[in-house]
């Protein structure tokens, strides 16, 4: 038997848990302002998250998926992508969405049960959150195809969880990306759980990054709790995509530090010790340590950031809670470009006419 093909999967980590450098720092991360932006968005994401969970617990919002522990992933990818690129997120990508210009109040509206939360006042092309798992990956492939057809120098970024890598839409997106050499970067937030299913029962693949091999393109792993590594690997992959060098699959390894959603009780299936251990690796402390080592931040400045974030969240909550509800008949108003006459009667019924 002769060997006809060989493959390897790499793993990138730049900052360790204590905030020490394991590799030379990438260029983008030499600028303290950039690091402070990443830090600030991670704090904002976490503060927002806690508030959103509280809103749900007090009956002021619907089911909500927390992104506790995923801040480096979300902020890292959101910071890597360029404004003119297109993002097709999944439901734990709030940090990235904020960086894309989606308003905090819009995210609250979405989870509060109001379609206007996906209207996006400040962005026109990104996809909204897709509830059926992994389906957004194929939308992203389609967007990338359109971009390629039009010879635009833009890239597409799409995200999903570890569980999502088992779905058809994921493998189809992988195959599409490879076949058409699409300007597409697929990132997997491997937080070790798909609701109650642990990563090792999701697939026998040693890494999820190696699923790219089925599509004939590069896959790699990064430490998903290391925002510098995530930001670096994703930005590089997006550059390649824009430069016509084809797609990448990036698996970011982290841990879900929260329940799956507010409808879940993870204590039923997550081992307490494992969870405690996972907290040791969480993304925010690590970056803060680095910022402190580097004298990029003081205790006091840190405090200010936290307060500013809280304030921003409070304002968003105000806006969310004070938004006039949609009219019931709005359920007909965006169904088609023009309401078919057969539906006028039903619309009138809803209006009580």
């Amino acid at each position: 038997m002769s060997v006809v093909a060989t493959f390897e999967i790499g793993y990138l980590r730049i900052l360790d848990e204590e905030g020490h450098l394991l590799e030379t720092i990438p260029d983008f991360a030499r600028d303290p302002k950039t690091l402070l932006t990443l830090y600030r968005y991670m704090i904002l994401t976490r503060r927002f998250d806690a508030k959103a969970v509280a809103l749900q617990r007090t009956g002021q919002m619907g089911t909500f998926p927390s992104s506790l522990g995923q801040e480096a992933f979300s902020v890292g990818i959101g910071h890597a992508i360029h404004k003119e690129d297109v993002f097709c997120p999944y439901y734990r990508d709030h940090g990235a969405m904020f960086l894309r210009g989606v308003k905090l109040s819009e995210v609250l509206a979405f989870w509060g049960g109001d379609e206007r939360g996906s209207h996006y006042t400040r962005d026109k092309e990104d996809f909204p959150i897709s509830i059926p798992i992994a389906t957004q990956m194929l939308h992203a492939a389609g967007v990338a195809y359109a971009i390629k057809l039009r010879k635009q120098k833009r890239a597409v970024l799409t995200a999903c969880g570890d569980g999502a890598t088992s779905k058809s839409d994921f493998s189809q997106a992988i195959n599409a990306a490879g076949t058409w050499h699409l300007p597409l970067v697929l990132v997997v937030n491997n937080n070790q759980w798909a609701i109650s299913l642990p990563r090792d029962k999701q697939s026998a693949a040693k890494t999820l990054a190696q699923k790219a091999i089925a599509g004939g393109f590069r896959g790699l792993q990064v430490d998903g709790n290391d925002v510098i590594a995530v930001r670096h690997a994703v930005a590089e992959a997006l550059d390649r995509a824009r430069d016509g060098e084809g797609p990448s699959l990036i698996e970011a390894i982290s841990y879900r530090l929260c329940d799956h959603t507010t409808a879940d009780d993870a204590s039923r299936y997550v081992n307490k010790e494992d969870l405690k251990e996972a907290w040791r690796h969480e993304p925010i402390i690590r970056l803060r340590n680095y910022l402190i080592h580097q004298d990029f931040i003081t205790e006091q400045y840190d405090e200010e950031i936290q307060q500013a974030c809280d304030h921003e969240v409070e304002e968003a909550v105000e806006e969310y809670l004070n938004t006039e509800p949609q009219k019931p008949e709005s359920m007909f108003d965006y169904l088609y470009a023009k309401l078919p006459k057969t539906l006028t009667e039903q619309r009138n019924e809803v209006m009580g006419v």
């Binding site: 619907g62 089911t63 979405f110 989870w111 509060g112 049960g113 109001d114 379609e115 509830i131 059926p132 798992i133 569980g163 999502a164 088992s166 779905k167 058809s168 839409d169 798909a194 609701i195 109650s196 299913l197 029962k201 999701q202 697939s203 409808a263 879940d264 039923r268 299936y269 509800p325 949609q326 019931p328 709005s330 359920m331 007909f332 169904l335 057969t342 539906l343 039903q346 019924e349 809803v350």
Partner: protein
């Protein structure tokens, strides 16, 4: 004697059947350690092991496709889809294979699978968690479609569905999971899969419904009673094959009929019922029938969902309309 909910009755039925028939296996996302997101399969994995209560990877295509191979080997898979809105990746295998295996092999291979899914709105869940698309399955030859609406019927119909030698799509009105309690003895007695249930007799108007709308329909019937109108309430329960005889008999008596369902109106199961009544019972009708249904628009997100769901008020209005003809 202890009273149990629909959720508990379903669990009781699964437990009963797994205990007496080692071929029964449960499969789906989070059905094992977690006991299912609605806790319907709670405790089963502890009792019957991870091989018979399988946590599957996140793939409805896989669930539906594998269940067919398992069933062909004589297992009786009870496959859970987490929500009805997530069945569709498994739709192809269900309608292209599960429903056809017996026919395609002239009886050599069969497919005794139960495809369970919570369905319907009213729990303030996100998009795709609230739809009612039973009509899509009711159109497919070779399937059975069953919807319980009380703890006793949940128990008896699920037992019957597991024992049925052909594939059954078993839809659970999630809004009712914990709404009511009933004494349901764990006696292993199944209910028939080819019969409607007359929940309330009446001579003035026939109200035909199923699933969670049983709730609003009964409330409407009570209000009507106070107004002196005796409504007959029929729970269709088995949507396919449809026991039209029981419905026709009722309409023969009342001459008036309102069909109520949560699903969108166009090409919903209500259309089939109204069509059959008009074909076979036209001469009995004293008034045109009415359908009270979800609208032909996308189920709104939860802030507006109550405006989409048929309300007691809308049912009463429809009854008033059919009663007006003299």
């Amino acid at each position: 004697m202890s009273e149990i909910t629909i959720a508990e009755a379903l669990n009781q039925a699964l437990n009963h059947e797994m205990a007496i028939d080692e071929n029964v296996v449960v499969m789906g996302e989070d059905v094992g350690v977690n006991g299912g997101v609605f806790r319907i399969t709670k405790g089963l994995q502890e009792r019957y092991g991870a091989e018979r209560v399988m946590d599957t990877p996140l793939s409805e295509t896989m669930i539906s496709g594998m269940s067919i191979g398992m069933a062909a080997q004589g297992l009786k898979p009870v496959a859970e889809f987490q929500f009805m809105g997530f069945i569709y990746p498994g739709f192809d295998q269900i309608i292209s294979h599960a429903s056809r295996l017996r026919n395609r092999t002239r009886g050599r291979l069969t497919c005794p699978v139960v495809y369970r899914a919570p369905y319907g709105s009213g729990i303030h869940a996100p998009e795709h968690h609230s739809e009612s698309t039973e009509a899509l399955f009711a159109h497919i030859p070779g399937l059975r479609v069953v919807i319980p609406s009380s703890p006793a019927r949940a128990y008896g119909l699920l037992l019957a569905s597991i024992r049925d030698p052909d594939p059954v799509v078993f839809l659970e009105p999630k809004r009712l999971y914990r709404m009511m309690k009933q004494d349901v003895p764990d006696n292993g007695e199944a209910l028939p899969l080819d019969q409607c249930f007359v929940l309330r007799e009446g001579k003035d108007v026939t109200l035909v419904t199923w699933g969670a709308m049983i709730h609003e329909t009964r409330q409407a019937a009570e209000t009507l009673e106070a107004e002196g109108i005796e409504a007959e309430v029929i729970d269709v329960a088995t949507i396919k094959p449809l026991d039209i005889e029981t419905i026709l008999k009722s309409v023969q008596k009342t001459g008036r009929c309102v069909v109520i369902h949560e699903a969108a109106r166009t090409c919903g199961v209500g259309a089939e019922i109204v069509a059959q009544i008009s074909e076979k019972g036209l001469m009995d009708l004293l008034a045109p029938m009415q359908r009270v249904t979800g609208y032909d628009t996308i189920m709104p997100y939860n802030k507006l969902e109550k405006h989409y769901m048929p309300s007691v008020g809308r049912i009463l209005l429809a009854v008033k309309t059919v009663m007006e003809y003299v």
